[in-house]
Amino acid sequence: MAEAHPVAFQWVMEAKRRGATLIHVDPRFTRTSANSDKHIALRSGSDVILLGAVIKHVLDNDLWFEEYVRAYTNISTIITDDYLDTEDVDGVFSGFDPETGTYDTSTWAYEGETEKVDRGLPERDETLQHPRCVYQILKRHYARYTPEMVEEYCGISREDFDYLVDAIVANSGRERTTVFAYALGWTQQQGGSQMIRTSAVLQLLMGNVGRPGSGIMAMRGHANIQGATDLPTLFHILPGYLPMVKAGQESFAEYTRGVGRKEQKGFWANADIYTANLLKAWWGEHATVDNDFHFDYLPRLTGAHSTYQTLGRMLENKLDGYFIMGQNPVVGSANGRLQRKGMNNLKWLVVRDYYMIESATWWKDGPEVESGEIASEDIGTEVFFLPCANHMEKAGSFTQTQRMVQWRDQGALPPDDATSELQFIYELGQRIRAKLKDSTDERDRPLLELTWDYPVDEHGEPDAEAVLMEINGRYLTGEKAGQPLPGFAEMKADGSTEGGCWIYCGIFKDDVNQARRRKSREEQTLVAPEWGWAWPMNRRVLYNRASADPQGRPWSERKKLIWWDEEQGKWVGNDVPDFPLNKRPDDPGDPSKGGPAALAGTDAFIMQPDGRGWLFAPTGLADGPLPAHYEGPESRVPNPLYAQQSSPTGIHPQHGKDNLNAPGVKPGGDVYPYVFTTYRITEHHTAGGMSRFLPYLSELQPELYCEVSPELAEQLGLEPYGWMTIITARSAIEARVFVTERMRPLEIGGQTIHTVGLPYHWARGKQAIVTGDAVNDLIGINLDANTQIQNSKNNQCAIRPGRRPRGEALRELVREYQERAGIVEIDGQIHDATPQASHNAEDLEHTIEHADIQSDYMTKPPPSKVDESEQKGGTR
């Protein structure tokens, strides 16, 4: 956190000054560790073992926050007797299809009559004695997760484990809270979603959700990565976390019921309203109740269409054109070499950036052109580079990591040809519509009928506030017609309102751009509700009903946030209550009504169909209702817990010989004996597009380095600050040797595990101020089944002293190692030795079939907002 979010870290230091204990669990000793009370090094990828053991400790010793957990979580809920745990199936859950590598999740459901379960009223056993209640399942599931296991397989001593557990326990309960902050160390793992889930389970058990100073903070890495998930440029969702429509969902009713049933508890019951308002915002007068608001205009998914599947289409010559706007995939995405190979096959490419990034110039000075593997003359891609305005040269809003939207005013004009994306996309839309204006083709109607008319200034820049107003939504009829909606509760599914993103509804409340508010922190409370605007409804702490006890009283004076005020008959406090304002704590809820009205006064988790925090997740995850530990796809450590070595649902497209995995525990694994983990450092920004071109930042960290322990350096004869070559089953790069005691070998299951660290900000090219090999060339595409995010944090490599070979010799070196590891035969036949070979697709389309994360999404209600950002956003 000190490394990648230094300014947010001020609050951690502030807390530390006041006596908070700060523990940093990370394979590496970083700038965060340097300022923590304790750094606990763990083996990369073993997080679920550690957290599972904490959960076990808490359960075994009855240290969980009983009153909180009983009232607000599904601990007493009984699960159907079809459910089989990893304990029962030796490492997988019930419903697993080894053919496709996917789960049928229906056996993970709640017990009870369908009618009642649908209304959020499954069977419960408040005594927690029922063998299939969540409490008992949890206890059985985590029984294997012992401190000894942690010591042996995470590399954490008993002492340190005890320190960690004691600190969490001592800092949880009525008076105190513990918070978990994570970033890509969790999301960029195959199984990363479940690592986050493990901490969610623990935090719920300790009563650390919905309260001040609690929760799980995803430290997101880009200025608007939260906003780009809320108003998504993502394949699987529409604005406001409405899922994209899946093939087969032919009607509006079918689709919205899949998102949220009217009879279920909480706010997803209104999915039809949110969808109708979105469609109305997009197709205006053409969208009516009668035509289901032109639900038919939406394109449908047939599987995952993430950036990695798109890459697959590129490699197969099935993609003509590509827009890259403020991204640098040949550096930032996994397997950079493959990314470049894919881009060679495009017909055309549009790159919009400030600088001549490597994704714009790979055809001219990319590594393969440099090595002579391919010549510029052989690359047929037509490239448009369009300069773009930066954040200071346009007005607009960013949503930061805590869901707070902040408006930016324009401070300067874009230089020369530079334009904002807003202007570009608006003008592109106008141009496309003009070209189609005489079309009678039915498929062009969504474009022609689209509401696409925004006021522009003298430079042609559309008024971003007009767009935000559309996102907020308006009344369309009645005396308020034309006025902005004050909140999503005002939205109707009858065509009388429109709004582009229901969770942002209210951002233009009172016709004021609430995101633009800048009331000084000096002039308001610590919660600072009048600075910017947080979705939904300006709530700063989600699920804050849980900050009060079941009776509506704060758990303690020092941890109070909102509470029930009997006199006023409503919830009051320092934050906007995340609960129906007048619903009494003892309100039993009205199951007959469904939606918010069905919520009981203690159903704090208002987005969940049962109103409770999910220790056990009956739906929403592709790889299990409870987190289980699996080794990384290339790990050389046999899974100590289950026969299943690595994630049974992991996705690994091979793309010929270009995306091979190291053999791991199979023979030949010792060819790639060391673990490498990638990371970011303070001085640079992701793939370097916004840092390597700036003199002030470039000089601070000018060269790629690899952090190695003194022990490994000695063993391999690495000269401090000399060169070393790192070889994986995909590629080889060179880096400066950085010998440091901040890296240390761990004794794991009888073997010594050496981990090396590589920051990934550099790239080969001729345009930036500083260059270096691109680390992501080393990483294979091994995706998490929930998120389609690649495994960057623990992969295997070989290391040699000295610089890497140049020209053709580089590929020969990589091939030599592949041959020695037996993952590719001399004649070029691929021998796949990857542990989860059961569903290693050579054909990408095939991969998409069984990697389909949408199958759950479409039929089950989406998970809560918190889960959503955990699973989908992670953090960048």
């Binding site: 001593s157 046999p638 003194p710 005691e741 240390r744 004794e747 009888g750």
Partner: protein, 363 residues
């Protein structure tokens, strides 16, 4: 638990170590991260530095400044010789010395300006008079001296050319101020030659700073020796008797002064004066000075020997200045030369019971 095939044959595991601890007496690896470490000079003082990087910076002074130190000395001492020659009616030597002084001061001024980062702003030196700045004091000495020497030399040249300079009515003025100008230049001659020692001494550069106790004596002697040498070179032997004596005195002063200077320095401060390129320059300088001194003493009546001795003395003086300048520049490169003398003096004061003047305090 494990499912490794080799479980049963696993050799006994060494006791798990949290982190490698160094056994007592084990040699520290170098370059392991905690800054550079070197063998301590003094047993009980552990030397630490920040990756061996310099702590203080040398001024950006290059050859022109060494030249300036050298010719400034010549100029100053030459003006004294001129005064002596005047007083003892040695007109050739007086004239030569005055012209030497003028030439030297002009070269010196040029060198000084040349070494400025912004030469066009040389006159900014005249904005202030700062008693705390040897450079300021020196500049005022230099400029006054240069003006006075110019006037005095102009008179010399005018009379040399039988009043053929196109001075017109100014000749009267020149003749009127000629004498006083000579006096001023003589009076400032010695300060001009010695202030440069203060200029170097008034720095944090270890070797110069350490040399502050004796450097003025070295520079004064060296200047005297050089100016005398110049006269041995330029003036017929008939008039150079006092210059020979002065040369010898200068040599002796130079040698004794340097010895004294070093004796007052911490060994690490003095080291650059003895080793490396600067040390070599100073050794040659010493040899040349001795040779020149002996030559002047024993063969000074012979014009050729006198001239050779004079040249040797000039060279010796030049090398002294280059040597001292470069030794200083060299001395900042090794932080030990800053840290150890400072720690030593701090320790000394503490031993003497002075514990309240450290920059590092416990509170």
């Amino acid at each position: 638990m494990t499912n490794s095939d080799f479980d049963a044959y696993r050799p006994p595991q060494p006791e798990r170590k949290r982190r490698r601890r160094r056994a007592a007496g084990e040699v520290r690896r170098t370059g392991a991260g905690d800054g550079s470490r070197e063998q301590p000079m003094v047993d009980d003082i552990q030397f630490d530095s920040y990756y061996g990087r310099p702590i203080v910076k040398a001024p950006p002074w290059k050859a022109p400044i060494a030249l300036y130190l050298f010719v400034g000395g010549i100029a100053g001492a030459s003006s004294l010789i001129a005064a002596g020659a005047d007083a003892t009616e040695r007109p050739t030597m007086a004239r030569n010395a005055r012209l030497t002084a003028l030439g030297a001061v002009l070269v010196g001024t040029g060198a000084l300006i040349e070494d400025l980062g912004r030469p066009e702003r040389f006159l900014h030196m005249m904005r202030v008079f700062k008693p705390s700045s040897p450079m300021s004091v020196g500049t005022w000495i230099l400029s006054t001296f240069a003006t006075a020497s110019g006037v005095a030399a102009a008179g010399e040249i005018d009379s040399l050319l039988d009043e053929k300079l196109p001075l017109g009515p100014l000749r009267g003025v020149l003749q009127a101020v000629d004498g006083p100008a000579g006096a001023v230049s003589s009076a400032l001659g010695a300060p001009l030659a010695t202030y440069t020692a203060v200029l170097l001494g008034d720095t944090a550069v270890p070797t110069w700073s350490g040399a502050r106790h004796g450097l003025a004596f070295v520079f004064g002697s060296s200047a005297t020796m050089a100016a005398s040498g110049a006269q041995l070179l330029l003036t017929p032997t008939a008039e150079t008797g006092p210059a020979r004596a002065l040369a010898v005195a200068g040599v002796v002063g130079d040698l004794v002064g340097m010895h004294y200077t070093k004796s007052q320095m911490h060994p690490l401060e003095a080291e650059p004066l003895e080793e490396g390129e600067p040390g070599r320059l100073l050794k040659i300088s010493e040899g040349l000075a001795i040779a020149g001194g002996i030559g002047a003493l024993l063969g000074g009546r012979n014009r050729v020997v006198a001239a050779a001795s004079g040249a040797a003395l000039l060279a010796a003086s030049a090398l002294t200045r280059f040597g001292v300048l470069n030794a200083g520049l060299e001395s900042v490169k090794d932080p030990r030369r800053v840290v150890e003398p400072q720690k030593a003096r701090l320790e000394e004061r503490r031993k003497a019971g002075v514990t309240d003047d450290s920059i590092t305090t416990a509170g």
